[in-house]
């Protein structure tokens, strides 16, 4: 009978907690026949960027977090954040787990923790309060809030004025008019209460970017469990969790879309011409990733091709 503490930095209503962590915790309890329960702490034990270390150092047994919050530490995980990987978070997340096991795990970027799962959110899009963005030149002069990592590079490449600020400040920045827009998946417009501030959205087929997340556990806490419990936990984690998490994001994106419709946000599809334009301007970001992967002794170009193939395969099987 073990209780594992999980430090959560998002509110209980957020899709990651409500649609992913809570269902997963229930499955853990069921799979271990009630031997292991996961307790979500009432408050996080640190700020979002600290959550990898919080599991590594054993402050809590389990945490989730965003790789990009610790720039410099994770390079390979940026593969799944690149533009045009697909429209389904489920497919991307499942493919991500497979590629991780096959290629990334041995490199040891996650050393110090037991990786239980990896996943991405749905395709990132362009939202703003000023005007419909039908071509990239419409972004000129718009101040866009972005997080760190690939989305920051993308924003710079396509000519937006990027404001690098923490995601929870989005509402304040847009409400005050400091930022004109955000790059977010559709879900975040709802969960960060931006539905009334955003007037126009441009949906980019395949996604302008993604965000890479982890679900990790303290290795000593994991080793202290019986072999049967360990196996039971892993049976509902890994690829299984990638499916839970991906579906959680996809459902949340649908809910975000509905909320925007209701609020009267004008949503347009990016034209083929605009997609071509974005592809041309962001090609070097993917090239930069390939070189980083090569520097770590991997075949970056081949892995990117394999990742795309896995995503296509996973999309087909859904």
């Amino acid at each position: 009978q073990t209780t594992l503490n999980l430090s959560s930095w998002l509110p209980p209503s957020h899709p990651i907690v409500a649609n992913m962590i809570v269902p997963w915790a229930e499955e853990v309890e069921k799979a271990t026949n009630g031997n292991v329960t996961v307790r979500i702490l009432p408050k996080p034990l640190g700020k979002p960027p600290a959550h990898f270390d919080i599991a590594k150092d054993g402050l809590a047994d389990i945490t989730y977090g965003v790789h990009g919050y610790q720039p410099g530490r994770f390079a390979l995980t940026k593969a799944v954040e690149l533009p045009f990987l697909g429209d389904s978070a489920t497919a991307t997340s499942v493919a991500y787990w497979r590629i991780y096991q096959k290629h990334f795990e041995a490199v040891g970027e996650h050393r110090g923790v037991k990786v239980l799962g990896l996943f991405t959110h749905g395709p990132g899009n362009i939202f703003n309060s000023a005007r419909p963005v039908e071509q990239l030149s419409d972004l000129d002069g718009l101040k866009i809030r972005v997080g760190g990592g690939v989305v920051n590079d993308v924003a710079k490449a396509i000519g937006a004025t990027a404001l690098l600020k923490p995601a929870p400040e989005s509402y304040e920045l847009m409400a005050a008019g400091v930022a004109d827009g955000v790059f977010f998946p559709q879900e975040s417009i709802k969960s960060f209460r931006l539905t009334d501030l955003v007037k126009y959205g441009t949906i980019v087929p395949g996604g302008l970017y993604n965000t890479s997340f982890f679900l990790v556990m303290n290795p000593r806490s994991f080793d202290n469990l019986s072999a049967a419990d360990q196996e039971a936990i892993m049976s509902v984690s890994g690829e299984h969790f990638a499916k839970i998490a991906g579906k959680g994001w996809d459902d949340a994106d649908a809910a975000g879309n509905a909320a925007m419709m209701e609020a009267g946000v004008t949503l347009i599809q990016a034209s083929d011409a605009m997609v071509t334009e974005i592809k041309a301007k962001t090609a070097e970001i993917e090239q930069a990733w390939i070189e980083e992967a090569n520097a770590k002794g991997l075949d970056g170009a081949a892995i990117m091709a394999e990742l795309r193939a896995e995503i296509a395969a996973a999309s087909g099987s859904n």
């Binding site: 990009g68 610790q70 720039p71 410099g72 530490r73 101040k143 760190g148 920051n152 690098l164 400091v178």
Partner: protein
């Protein structure tokens, strides 16, 4: 108070404090100027400073920890002297020294933990998001200034003890 003056009698300590003061003051001023330029640059010229956010963070940490030894030496940590009126003077001195040692011990441990954190940051290659500035040097500085505060407390305790023995 007496032991604080003792610290300032040592030339190297006096210089260290003076350097910390100037550096911390300059950092605070720079932080103000940075926000000023960032905001008006964004508002008037539509060009925010890239990474103003993360530079502010690094400056914050540096200025707070540059201030820590100053606060420690000046005995400006908030404390409550509620029960002092019924505690005999001699007992108060003993207690103050014990508290100094306790605080010094805590600062020593904290300094060590920050050192370990900095070493770990070097090995992970942690850096800032926009400007790719390595964060470890700031953590090393935090560790250093915490150690300095610890040393100052130890010195102050030693000075009081020496005084009380020599006055006997």
């Amino acid at each position: 108070m007496a032991s604080r003056n003792k610290i300032e009698e040592i030339r190297s300590a006096r210089w260290a404090l003076r350097i910390l003061q100037s550096a911390a003051g300059a950092l605070l001023f720079a932080m103000m100027v940075l926000t000023f330029i960032d905001v008006w640059g964004r508002y008037i010229f539509n060009s925010p400073l890239a990474g103003a956010f993360e530079i502010t963070e690094l400056m914050m940490a540096t200025l707070i920890f540059a201030g820590l030894p100053l606060v420690t030496v000046q005995r400006e940590h908030v404390s409550v002297d509620l029960l002092d009126f019924w505690m005999p003077k001699g007992l108060q001195i003993v207690r103050d020294n014990l508290i100094n040692l306790l605080c010094a011990g805590m600062l020593g441990i904290l300094s060590h933990r920050l050192w370990l954190k900095a070493v770990e940051q070097v090995s992970y290659g942690d850096q800032t998001a926009a400007l790719n500035i390595p964060v470890a040097p700031v953590t090393f500085f935090m560790s250093f200034s915490t150690a300095l505060s610890c040393a100052a407390l130890l010195f102050m305790t030693a000075a009081t003890l020496r005084d009380s023995f020599s006055s006997d």
